[in-house]
Amino acid sequence: MLVYPQLGTGALSQFPFRTVRRTRTVVNAALDGSSVKVADAAGAMTDWTLGYTALSDAELAALEQFFASAQGTLNGFTFLDPAANLLAWSGTLNQPAWVRDPQLSIAGGVADPAGGSAAWSLTNSGAAPQAISQTLPAPGGYVYCLSAYARATSATAVTMVVGNSQAGRVVQTQWSRIVLAGSGDASAAEIGFGLQVPAGAQVDVFGVQAEPQAGASLYKPSTTGGVYQNARLRDDQLAVTTTGLSRHSCTVNITYVNHL
């Protein structure tokens, strides 16, 4: 499927950008001020307004190529919310969205670095490294950043996985944030994110986050994730203003509707 292009920096958007989330509630209002409400779960919509300035020629060409491929509002595409944690259920590692290797056990309710008890303990009782991972229907060729807060009872090397990229990160006895930026197979339509715990080790983790950019931003807990398949452009025209040599600006409006 067609995918929305990243900028040359690896980011999907620039500041400022606007997100509007809409739900649909049918309200039967009575004269006494009370009401009966019915929710329409399928009626939810999300709109993004992405303003771009100082785009290079190459970045503008990528956007125009994308606009031509989408043929304006006609064709759907995969869009990654630039402000979201792409992972689903980032704070609930026992959800089915997460895949665990068989020798890896998890336990929740562990004290986290934010002062709560939302961290998870990962224990590898096997003789080989074991991973917990999530695969997203997102373009493999994008630049992604995987981050998590981690600690262990003694210094332990944890392997972070982003598509084809893997790197070891030493987890200390105090909470620290481990980060890996990387990408996967450019032709793949999905990409995996994971944490691999070495044999016999126990690691506490909190705030696992994947973002479509090269650096980690503040942790955002998620339940649905930030991958929107079959999003669409909201306009049939793309107006570009050129303010100088290789300096262009434009605004792109994107919409995602559950029931389409």
Partner: protein, 119 residues
Amino acid sequence: MATFPTLKTHAAMQYPATRQVRYQNQALRFLDGTEQRYRDCAGPLLRWRIPLSLLDEGEVAAIEQFFADNQGAFGSFAFTDPWDGTVHPNCSLETDTLQTTASGEMDGATVLTVVENRG
């Protein structure tokens, strides 16, 4: 039931915040100029308009999650009035729309309107 999110400062609101008290009265006017008024509701209802700015990404995410958990105006929750600390057990968001603007890193803004429900 979802819990109304507080900011990292543990405050629910920022200045300028607005609280509105609303009655629902009816007036019957007669030809001689007199009128008869009556109360058409069991009591007043409150409404809070909460503009928020300079939010970090985590605070914006918490507000978006709260909006999603409530399915917009559908769900109800208990809201603690920041003016007097009274807990109003049956409140909702006023609209089915949540707009957030990110003007920069740790510079998000949005507006929430909470209304008290009858019954």
